[in-house]
């Protein structure tokens, strides 16, 4: 007789409250209230944290809450990397498909330099991956004020733009 192997199935539903903390909350409030993307700049090396963070990972020092350390970044930029995930994940408990399917891209916002500012990761309006290329110019499309809740989805997506 074939030996029978048993298993115990369990479902874990762990409630979890994640705090955005001070620096990220400020970033999210700017998104929601003013459609502005802000970062903070290390007073020592000048690199920009996006989203803003309490520490500069390079210099290992605190980036203080001083007006000169806050920078407003453009909502236009250039595609650095792009991708299309061909298989979406499902919710492990319900089996429902998750997430949006648009191609994603890492976008270096205007006025920042590669290696000096974290690129922003977002999805693109363009769904045909063959039309996307590195160096492509894009611009944020914001949700209307009443739909903005203070998360990165307050930007609907980045639209291909013709300006250089």
């Amino acid at each position: 007789m074939e030996k029978e192997f048993l298993a115990v199935r369990s479902e874990v539903r762990l409630p979890f409250k994640q705090s955005a903390g001070q620096y990220l909350t400020k970033f999210l409030m700017e998104l929601r209230n003013n459609t502005r993307i802000i970062g903070n700049k290390c007073p020592k090396c000048g690199r920009i944290n996006l989203p803003p963070n309490i520490v500069c990972g390079w210099c290992k020092i605190r980036v203080e809450d001083k007006p000169e350390n806050w920078v407003e970044l453009s909502d236009k930029g250039t595609v650095v990397t792009f991708l299309e995930i061909t298989e979406r994940d499902t919710d492990p408990l319900t089996g429902k498909l998750l997430g949006r399917i648009n191609p994603g891209a890492q976008i270096l916002l205007d006025g920042t330099e590669a290696g000096r500012c974290t690129p922003l990761y977002h999805i693109l309006e363009e769904t045909d991956i063959k039309k996307i290329y590195i160096g492509m110019r894009v611009q944020a499309v914001w949700r209307p004020r009443e739909e903005r809740v203070g998360d990165l989805n307050d930007i609907l997506y980045f639209r291909t733009s013709s300006d250089k």
Binding site: T86, E87, R100, I101, G104, T118, I134
Partner: protein
């Protein structure tokens, strides 16, 4: 190290994708028994047990507690380590440090994963997820997204072609077919690889990516005097280095792999390999190192690894692949075990690298023993923005 230490026992279980007949305790126990047999030690001779595992994959909080039912830790010292993809290496290093502290005679390190026990894809995506910043479709593709960035970069600077990557994957499959403990052991063709569907377009295909495996690795590590008594084939752990990138927000940049440090995900590998070479006077790795085990979750990463480890000039990875030098019978054999590409039980993957180097340096690798004479090897580990490297020798 104030005290020199050596690997004196290696235990590797079979690896497969489903293993309903075994509990985690039994799989861990098997690896430990194999390592004890290999070193001809008894559990009584072991005085500390270091455990490595990604607990959210199987869902056991403080899993070292339950594992005492199979790892022999009862009334012994020990702790549990988790550093992500590198957990096996970090666990091994922790055991090495224990053995080198002068407080222990023999230390056991165990790493395992049983990925049929949970949704590791769901768990894994929490690494990058911040509820305020998540816009990308959460996906089983997981870190495949990272490799896309890696691949696009290599293609842009003409280091490799997709065909060369496929050749590399075929080479890994040929190596794994000779390794009885490997998970994927079927030999692939270049067409198989090039025709497999995309996981992440436009570069990463299913056959570029490592499998999700079940299995365990155990190593026994002992300080010098003890090691010499235990075995006549000790493998000395000469040095170990690890490094984080640690400059970017994981949330936003990680999905695409690469932020302020430029290529976030290979910077730590570059940094740790560079430091390892520098600390040990290695200026010409092709000549000074005989064998490499590189942590290759994706074929593109392995190709990049050739450059990172200094085995070829920048942008020459493709030519090195074509030359055949990295094959089992080549001059600079890399991943003769088949690598992570063919066997990936995450908690043991980074411990498998030094384990495989140790087997090669002892001459005990059987069918996949490299043809050249080997006495010095490098084992690498990778996970998230962290990487590890260690130098092993079969002489002092």
């Amino acid at each position: 190290m104030s005290e020199r230490v050596a690997i004196v026992g290696v235990g590797i279980t079979e690896h497969k994708s489903k293993w309903p007949g075994r509990s985690q305790v039994e799989i861990v126990n098997e690896a430990v028994q194999l390592a004890l047999e290999d070193s001809q030690l008894n559990m009584k001779d072991i005085d500390a047990t270091i455990i490595g595992n990604m607990e959210l994959f199987e869902g056991i909080y403080n899993v070292d507690m339950w594992m005492t039912e199979g790892d022999g830790a009862y009334l012994k010292s020990g702790m549990k380590i988790n550093t992500g993809g590198t957990v096996g290496a970090s666990t091994f290093f922790t055991a090495v440090e224990h053995a080198g502290s002068g407080l222990f005679n023999a230390v056991l390190a165990v790493g395992w994963e049983k990925q049929d026990e949970g949704s590791s894809a769901y768990s894994l995506r929490t690494v990058h997820e911040n509820p305020f910043l998540t816009v990308v479709a959460p996906s089983r593709a997981g870190v495949g997204i990272v490799f896309n960035k890696w691949a696009q970069d290599m293609l842009a600077r003409k280091s490799v072609t997709e065909e060369q990557i496929a050749k590399l994957r075929v080479q890994a499959s040929e190596n794994a077919s000779k390794n009885p403990k490997a998970h994927l052991r079927n030999i692939l063709t270049v067409e198989d690889v090039m025709n497999s569907p995309f996981l992440v377009a436009p570069t990463v295909r299913y056959l570029h990516i490592c499998p999700t495996s079940i299995g365990a690795v155990a190593l026994i590590i002992a300080p010098e005097e003890r090691a010499k008594k235990i075995t006549n084939k000790p493998v000395w752990v000469v040095d170990h280095v690890s490094s984080h990138c640690g400059v970017d927000s994981m949330y936003i940049t990680a999905p695409a792999g690469g932020g302020m440090a430029g290529p976030t995900f290979w910077w730590p590998s570059v940094d740790s390999i560079r430091k390892l070479y520098k600390r040990n006077g290695i200026t010409n790795p092709c000549k000074q190192i005989d064998i490499f085990e590189f942590y290759d979750p994706c074929a593109w990463v392995l190709a990049e690894g050739f450059e990172i480890m200094g085995l070829c000039e920048k942008n020459q990875a493709g030519r090195l692949i074509d030359s055949g030098k990295t094959r089992i019978d080549g001059q600079i054999p890399i991943n003769p075990s088949g690598g992570v590409l063919c066997t990936n039980a995450i908690g043991d993957s980074a411990m498998m690298r030094p384990a495989q180097v140790a087997l090669q340096l002892r001459g005990d690798a059987g069918d996949y023993q490299v043809h050249k004479k080997v006495s010095r090897g490098v084992a690498h580990g990778l996970g998230g923005d962290f990487a590890t490297a260690c130098l092993l020798q079969n002489y002092l």
